[in-house]
């Protein structure tokens, strides 16, 4: 995995489109979560048509005033199309500018990925398969993370990660960087695994045994705490290392905040779906009388937010890992740098 030293791009259109893609993908994932939460996945029984209509020609007023599940599902489809269009535009923009070849490959991969993801979503409807729904739900956040990396590749910072750092800061940071980087990568992997576990709990087939469900729920909770520990450590290390640039420390801080929020959302999800666990609600009068209301606004919002924050955690941890990786790569390149005269000799030698 070499690192680009070539300018990512000269034009600002690739950057604009890649940022647009990130900012559209997140709501897409959010609405996608809502599709599952409200179980609207099969509300529109056909694909790519909507109730026999061409997807784009499905009357706006029917969509707007129709049943909620149809609204959500059709909306998810339209948003997906929007991301696809932006992806096409991004590809064109990148190809039109003198961009680094890796970026060119990446935007094509993104375009293929978003198309496949759309097809997967469509297949899920056509075959009405939970398994595909789950796969679709797991590739969504992965694509989101990829979109974030793409956006990073078009950034100024990617070209010159040491820009904001003094020589002293670089010297301070260097010995610890690889450890922090490793931790961040491990955390990203773990966050994604956790997301897959969560998706499994969410898409558990109705015929599954209670013991199967219980096992997955158990691991989802276990990994939640392991992950919280990981992120706390990551935050602590980056927090202590003041010489690290803000664009490393800030995402770590976000991760720490979000994982706390996510723990709270996880518990809230349980309570809004299944009431208090093991009858602990009976411990106090204020909690004893709680009734779960299926598909209430608060329930849907809590559950969907839990899912969306999960994707955000994946996105930010991948962002942080990639940045750390880029930084350490640039630093080791710096330290391996041969004296100028030698370089000349070396080059003339070849």
């Amino acid at each position: 995995m070499g690192t680009p030293s070539l300018p990512a791009s000269e034009s600002c259109w690739p950057r604009r489109f890649s940022l647009l893609m990130v900012s559209l993908t997140f709501p897409l994932i959010w609405v996608g979560g809502l599709v599952t939460t409200t179980q609207s996945g099969m509300a529109v029984p056909d694909y790519p048509t909507t109730f026999g209509y061409n997807m784009f020609l499905y009357p706006l007023s029917w969509w707007w005033s129709g049943p909620w599940d149809v609204f959500v599902e059709h909306g998810h489809r339209l948003l997906g199309i929007a991301v696809g269009l932006v992806s096409i535009m991004l590809t064109i923009a990148v190809y039109k500018s003198p961009a680094w070849s890796r970026l060119r490959k990446a935007v094509v991969i993104a375009l293929v990925a978003v198309t496949l993801q759309g097809l997967l979503g469509g297949l899920r409807v056509e075959l009405n398969a939970r398994l595909l729904a789950m796969l679709h739900g797991c590739t969504g956040p992965a694509f989101f993370a990829f979109a974030i990396v793409l956006a990073m590749w078009t950034s100024e910072r990617w070209r010159d990660p040491l820009h904001e750092m003094t020589a002293k800061a670089i010297r301070d940071v260097e010995p610890q960087l690889s450890r922090i980087k490793r931790l961040a990568i491990l955390t990203s992997i773990l966050v994604y695994c956790q997301l897959v576990l969560g998706a499994t709990v969410r898409h558990m087939p109705v015929m599954a045994k209670p013991q199967t469900m219980k096992t997955f729920v158990f691991f989802h909770i276990l990994v939640a705490f392991v992950l919280a520990g990981h992120i706390a450590m990551l935050w602590l290390r980056t927090h202590r290392q003041r010489a690290l640039p803000m664009w490393i420390r800030r995402p770590a801080r976000w991760l720490a905040g979000l994982v706390l929020l996510q723990l709270v959302m996880g518990i809230t999800t349980w309570v809004t779906k299944w009431n208090w666990p093991m009858g602990i609600g009976d411990l106090s009068r204020s909690t004893a009388d709680f009734t779960v209301v299926q598909a209430s606004m608060s329930q849907s919002n809590v559950v969907t937010a839990h899912v969306a924050i999960g994707s955000l955690l994946v996105g930010i941890s991948v962002l942080l890992s990639t940045r750390l990786w880029r930084l350490s790569d640039e630093m080791s390149r710096g330290s391996q740098e041969t004296p100028a005269d030698l370089k000349v000799t070396l080059q003339s030698d070849e």
Partner: protein, 439 residues
């Protein structure tokens, strides 16, 4: 000298390249490990992603076999063969269809009780027809807890407390009919609209009224089917115990003789009776009296307390203070079938479960605690008439008895029970609190 340095740099480059390569392969390994992990999870889930089917009621059958065998000599132990189980399932399927294609059994009264269109809306996989009408409502909203079979053993069931209802006994707690009777559709609708506070059972009040009607019919359908299944199992057991060997209930093949098919008529009788018990629910409304004037007056509450502490016998379970600490060893009807006989300690009764049922896929029995009446949370509804139903009729499926207080007495107890949650108490288990003047 210069040459040496150059080779050193070249070496450095090689080392660097090697490092990069190893890093690359490390990343590749982790990512492939990740995908393998994901694939495993997917496969594990896919393993059970097959179509839905009704699960056979093994637990009930096994329990009956244990009970029958315990009263028989060693050389006369009975055993139910797979073929016999198959036979019961076939008869059931012929009468009730499958989770994807439910049928209303062709017996008297069934078509008046259940609506085929409703069953179709509630059954099958989740989705909508081209005309926009919903399908698979039960699997969408209920099966995760109550199970596709209605056995209360859906995927989510195990970590809920209390466990979701097993419909197959045909017993429901919260209703306004007399104790032994089935609930009316209105009673089920009330449960669906209000949910059951303090439990995982949600309120479905945001849903379309017609969708709820469809689900209610489907719940009754599952309850009837489950009840019939139990009775068919009991019948085949009886037959096995009487005749020896492994007799079938009836030959279900098309070319069987009239005599071999006779068992089907018995099955039909069973179904007819179960359907009739549901049809009768509407005529089995509990007798109610109007609450007397000033029924919530202090005097009446005091009278209610006397009954609660005395002739009502409530203290035996709910405790003197109403905290529900009177009897921690109760089991409900559903778990009674999995634990040892009454009259032993809870741990002895659970040992029976461990010996015979642990690992068979049943949910581990838990004691049912009498309600803490000071929490002000009433699972069957908080309206006075709801609590009146519980107290005058008892709660079906639980040890909570009815008939201890009638008419005005029952209303006095209702008043007392309602007043309990309004009492402010700092140390609830304290007898002083219990005697303290109410303001």
């Amino acid at each position: 000298m210069m040459f040496k340095q150059i080779t050193k740099t070249k070496n450095n480059e090689i080392v660097l390249r090697q490092q990069m390569q190893s890093m690359e392969s490390a990343t590749r390994t982790t990512s492939s490990a990740l995908w393998c992990g994901l694939l495993l999870v997917v496969l594990a889930v896919a393993g059970c992603d097959g179509s839905a089917y009704f699960q056979f009621n093994h637990a009930y059958l096994d329990r009956q076999v244990i009970d029958i065998n315990s009263g028989r000599p060693d050389d006369a132990q009975i055993e139910i063969s797979d073929e016999q189980e198959e036979n019961v399932s076939e008869i059931l399927e012929a009468a009730f269809g499958t989770p994807d294609a439910p049928k209303i059994p062709g017996v008297e009264g069934a078509a008046a009780l259940l609506d085929q269109e409703f069953l179709d809306m509630a059954a099958g996989p989740v989705g909508r027809l081209e005309d926009g009408s919903p399908r698979g409502l039960y699997r969408q909203h209920c099966a995760h807890c109550h199970g596709v079979t209605g056995d209360g053993m859906g995927p989510t069931s195990e970590f809920l407390k209390p466990y979701p209802r097993d419909y197959r006994k045909g017993v429901f707690k919260f209703k306004h009919t007399v104790l032994g009777a089935k609930p009316r559709k209105e009673d089920l609708r009330q449960v669906l609209m209000e949910g059951i506070p303090g439990t995982a059972m949600p309120s479905f009040r945001v849903y379309d009224s017609q969708e709820l009607d469809a689900i209610i019919d489907y719940v009754i359908y599952l309850a009837i089917r489950g009840d019939v299944e139990r009775q068919l199992e009991a019948t085949i057991l009886q037959k096995t115990a009487d005749e020896g060997g492994n007799p079938l209930l009836a030959d279900t093949s098309a070319n069987a003789s009239a005599e071999d098919r006779e068992g089907l008529l018995d099955a039909k009788d069973i179904i007819t009776d179960v359907v009739a018990s549901w049809t009768e629910a509407n005529d089995s409304l509990m007798p109610t009296t109007e609450p007397p004037a000033n029924w919530q007056s202090d005097e009446n509450i005091a009278r209610g307390r006397e009954i609660f502490l005395g002739t009502g016998g409530c203290v035996a379970c709910h405790g003197k203070t109403g905290l529900g600490d009177g009897n921690p060893d109760l089991f409900d009807t559903w778990t009674e079938e999995l634990v040892g006989a009454k009259g032993q300690s809870t741990s002895a009764r659970l040992e029976f479960y461990d010996e015979h049922f642990a690992g068979t896929g049943t949910l581990k029995p838990r004691n049912q605690r009498p309600r803490n009446l000071r929490l002000g949370s009433f699972r069957g509804g908080r309206r006075p008439i709801d609590i009146y139903s519980r107290i005058s009729q008892g709660i079906a499926g639980t040890e909570m008895p009815g008939g201890k207080a009638k008419g005005d007495d029952a209303w006095a107890v209702v008043a007392y029970v309602l007043s309990l949650s309004e009492e402010v108490i700092s140390k609830p288990s304290n007898d002083l609190d219990f005697q303290r003047e109410r303001n």
